[in-house]
Amino acid sequence: MQDYDYDVIIVGAGPGGSMAAKTAAEAGLDVLLIEKRQEIGAPVRCAEGVSREVLEEFFEIEKSWIAKEVVGAIIYSPDGTQIKMTAKMAGNEVGFVLERKIFDRALARMAARAGADVLVKTTATSMKRSENGVEVELRRMGERFSMKSKLVIGADGVESRVGKWAGIDTTVKIGEIESCVQYLMTGIEFDADYTHFWLGNRYAPGGYIWLFPKGENTANVGIGVLPTKTKKGPKSHLDKFIEERYPEGEIIEVVAGGVPVTGPIETAVADNVMLVGDAARHADPMTGGGIANAIKGGYFAGKVAKEAIDANDFSKEFLRRYDEMWKNDFGETLRRNKIIQKKMLKMDDETINKLMKSISGYDLEQISFRRLMIEMIKKNPRLLWDLRDLFF
């Protein structure tokens, strides 16, 4: 006879992990959600932007989660050309700017309310497969113990261990991680109805600078750079930008993080194991946004966990249906945006200026992202010829 402590152990209580825990617990599974930090939701490693639609699709939104609602995005090219996009076309990372410290806890509370056990300040230190199950070694405030489950969901972030233990190829090469620094700034002037993005090597080699409003005079001002594109590190690039543009501001929080921009991985499952969110490299390689896909992935993984328990089948082959679900939902977008990101990495600032100028006259209230790209390709066929198959 087999004894299990839980049906599912979920490692990591970010949005992906808590969503998986909530979904699995609501389906009646015995769930343990562990978080290595002593606080869920802190420290934040994120710009906190998420699409309105995804949030509305999955939750009854509470006001306290949302720091600021925005109507669109303004993109600035190196020469200052601006493009204004509506939230709808700017996609997954525009709509709401969250208060992650509140949102992440709310999600963990929902998981707990659905019946999940939650342990904070608890790290998974190793994992081994046993007969038809997994044994996870845990360390909690110095105390070591192990728990046995049928499934493990690794929602353990960019530094995922669960994937490595399970033999899933989640390697992040040095050219596939955005090295990011962000300041929560206050006392600065900006249009708080929009998120703002500055493109070009002048600002952020291999990435961009963002400003996400969190209130009228307060915003997340951050940068991501590719380590292969600059030796100076994100912080010095950001400091220079702030010195030029927002010297009057005060920094009230420092945030750092690495965002995986690998594009879709072949599989996010192994026997008894599924990966979710950044651990599954589900962050968007063009925008770096990861919350929406983590929520979706967590939901899918929770659903598949239930199916696997019902079928008493925890094999890689069975869990592949989780791969199918995330690939059907956002796999193609990850693939497409990886191609666009690679293309953008090759562009110098002159080229970015030229492309932005070529579409600056369009009424972007009326146009979709696909339509915009088609127009841009038509106007710059030689520059963008290799992207045509993605949009036509």
Binding site: R161, G233, G258
Partner: protein, 77 residues
Amino acid sequence: MIALPEQKKDGKNNETGKIVIDRYKCAYCAACIAVCKYDANVLIETFVYIDEEKCTLCKACVRACPMQAIEIIETES
């Protein structure tokens, strides 16, 4: 052509030294752990532990660190 550092038999390159993290700069974001191919580091809440036996001094973590908190210091070989 890109010159690769000479490899020793144990997979370490010829550099001597060790990785050190400036704890005052570190924001414990774990970017260094994400890029380590050798499983040579782990984030224990707010503390990055480095396994010097596994570390090959490949510098991936040095480059990925957003806070520029990681460097290689020379040691007597």
